[in-house]
């Protein structure tokens, strides 16, 4: 409430001069003079003349003028002694007129003043109400905006959490699968390798025995000739030549299976603690090896590995992260892919930059590629999870990931991680 708007007080005292004006009084007094008075005047409560018309007159007739019941002035009419009666009538007439005028003016003044003050007060109150409404509307709007923002934030969080969960489950099943395969494959692989080695030894003994038999029957030319014919029929020379290679190839194959299983185990880091010190160059190498069969032939992989400190984190997740980025590069260009992987330490950060010579990421999409389910590929080809997961892994490690442009216009994903202390 504005105090200023309540400064009008009904009931303040009025003086006669406030209520009557020259323009109203003058004609009335003139009328009295015209009616035969020599002089007509209105005096205030102190006897001072407020207005007067005419002059002279020996005989005076007077009547008090009241305001709100109180005498506030006097009406005087003067004239000749002979006109005394007429003067009395004139002053009564004048009194009636002025009294009515005073009352009417007082009412009008009170009405106007009250009305004005009410209008002002009402206007002030309306302004105040309007101000309060505007303020509360603003508050609500802000609240609504914040609410939308909060909802958007929470939705984003939930989408990320959901994506992370999906990825972790995928990782867990890959890890379990890898562990299962390793176990199942390693046992038979063990005896295959062992048996192959033993078989090689046995074969060389058999060969040695064959040579001995050959030497023993050399004295009997007929037997020798028959043995030679039989040997040719059985293609023994070919077998002897092929045997060693067959065995060494089988052994090499078994070794390779063993290595793949070991890589798979390593890649999934099923055996590692969740978090630890990670050597990024090694993990990149491991990732490339696991992905070797996915990388199309003719791809040039440029390793620009610098000397970088260890970082603290989850090696399995980092492998997953790099695999995702490499996967994107592979999908970006099928033939003549050039993959450049650079590691370095700058500005106190360990940076891994993986660039390709594909079509690149349009600038307006670079900020969105880390959003969950964002994908440029057709439905079914990509999950839209790769870079989202990458983003979460990196930010969880206190690092940053950004999408940019490689030297040749291809995509460049840069991961910056804090070195382990």
């Amino acid at each position: 409430m504005n105090d200023g708007s309540l400064n009008y007080i009904v009931g303040e005292e009025r003086r006669l001069a406030d209520l009557l004006g020259e323009k109203e009084m003058r004609p009335l007094l003139q009328g009295a003079v015209a009616a035969g008075a020599a002089r007509a005047a209105l005096l205030d409560d102190a006897g001072e003349v407020l207005w007067a018309e005419g002059a002279g007159g020996g005989c005076t007739a007077a009547m008090p003028l009241c305001l709100e019941g109180e005498p506030v002035g006097t009406l005087q009419v003067a004239g000749e002694e002979a006109a005394r009666d007429r003067l009395a009538g004139t002053v009564r007439f004048l009194h009636a007129a002025v009294s009515a005028l005073v009352t009417a003016n007082l009412k009008r003044m009170l009405t106007v003043e009250t009305h004005t003050s009410v209008v002002n007060l009402t206007y002030d109150e309306l302004l105040e109400t309007n101000r309060r409404l505007a303020a509360s509307e603003r508050e609500y709007r802000e609240l609504a905006e914040q609410l939308e923002l909060r909802v958007a934030e929470r939705t984003e969080e939930l989408r990320r959490a959901h994506a992370r969960l999906l990825q972790q489950e995928k990782m867990a099943s890959v890890g379990q699968l890898a562990a299962g395969i390793a176990h199942e494959v390693n046992n038979p692989l063990g005896f295959i390798t062992s048996n192959l080695t033993t078989l090689g030894r046995y074969v060389s003994r058999l060969m040695e025995m064959l040579d001995w038999h050959g030497a023993a029957i050399a004295a009997d030319p007929e037997l020798s000739a028959r043995a030679a014919v039989r040997g040719r029929e059985l293609k023994l020379d070919l077998i002897r030549g092929d045997m060693g290679e067959l065995l060494s190839q089988s052994l090499a194959g078994a070794e390779r299976v063993k290595k793949i299983v070991a890589d798979l185990r390593g890649f999934s880091h099923i055996d590692d603690p969740v978090e630890g010190l990670v050597e990024l160059n090694g993990e990149l190498e491991r990732t490339l090896e696991v992905m070797a069969r996915q990388i199309p032939p003719g791809t040039e992989v440029r390793r620009r590995f610098g000397t970088i400190p260890l970082v603290r984190g989850n090696a399995a997740l980092l492998c997953q992260l790099f695999a995702g980025i490499v996967q994107n590069a592979i999908q970006a260009r099928a033939e003549g892919l050039v993959l450049e992987i650079r590691t370095e330490e700058t500005d106190g950060r360990v940076r891994v930059a993986i660039g390709d010579n594909g079509p690149g990421i349009p600038p307006d999409l670079r900020s969105r590629v880390f959003d969950p389910f964002f994908t440029t590929r057709s439905v079914g080809d990509g999950t839209g999870m790769g870079l989202t997961v990458a983003y979460d892994i990196v930010t969880a490690m206190g690092g940053a990931i950004e999408a940019g442009e490689a030297a040749g216009g291809g995509a460049l994903i840069t991961v910056a991680l804090p070195p382990a202390e």
Binding site: L6, V10, G11, C66, G69, K107
Partner: protein, 218 residues
């Protein structure tokens, strides 16, 4: 108080008849005007009305002179009762020295009475008057009508407040003077504390009331 000038020996006091629309505030003043002798009061001034409903206010002035020569003018006002004229009510209530709350006794008016009384409390606070110290009289008007709140119920409700409650039928002229007198008694006490009416001006409580109601007193 509207005015108090010790050197000029002049005091202008303001009393207000408050209450819901059409509870009989103007009728109270009309009756006072009619019933109290002409001596000691001025004429009733009724500002413009619409359909007999006050939109501004009515004024009935009373006069007395204390033995000390102090001229006391008591201006009695009504407020417009209709809810929409709240701003006018505030302007009239400003600097009031006493309030008569005219309630409508009809049962169906109970809610309006309550709303109007709450409005009085609110507006008194707004114009800086303390309802616990301001002389206040409640008049339950229209006792001559049917379907009115029982006197017992009124006493029960208002008994605890220590606000004097009077019954009236203003149209019949019953209880109007009594209400006015009851208010004047409280107003005298309040003025006496502030302006030492008795001690400095030789004006007793009885003389104050008697002069204003133009009964033989002094």
């Amino acid at each position: 108080m509207i005015e108090y000038d010790e050197r000029e020996k002049r005091m202008v006091v303001k009393l207000v008849y408050y209450g819901p629309a059409q509870s009989g505030k103007t009728t109270n003043l009309l009756q006072l005007h009619e019933r109290l002798p002409r001596q000691g009061r001025g004429d009733l001034m009724v500002l413009d009305t619409t359909d007999d409903r006050t939109i501004f206010f009515d004024l009935l002035p009373f006069f007395l002179t204390a033995p000390s020569g102090l001229k006391v003018k008591v201006k009695v006002y009504t407020v417009p009762g209709q809810v929409k004229h709240d701003a006018t009510r505030k302007a009239v209530l400003q600097r009031a020295d006493g309030v008569v709350f005219v309630a409508d006794s009809q049962k169906r008016e109970a809610a309006n009475n309550l709303a109007s009384f709450e409005n009085l409390e609110e507006n008194l606070a707004l114009v800086g008057l303390d309802i616990d110290r301001l002389p206040l009289v409640v008049q339950f008007n229209k006792r001559d009508l049917a379907d009115i709140v029982a006197e017992e119920a009124i006493r029960r409700t208002w008994g605890a407040t220590r606000i004097p409650v009077l019954l009236a039928s203003a149209l019949q002229g019953q209880g109007v003077e009594e209400t006015f007198e009851r208010l004047l008694l409280s107003v005298y006490d309040s003025l006496d504390v502030r302006c030492r009416l008795g001690e400095a001006h030789g004006l007793t409580r009885d003389a104050f009331v008697a002069q204003l109601t133009a009964r033989e007193g002094i």
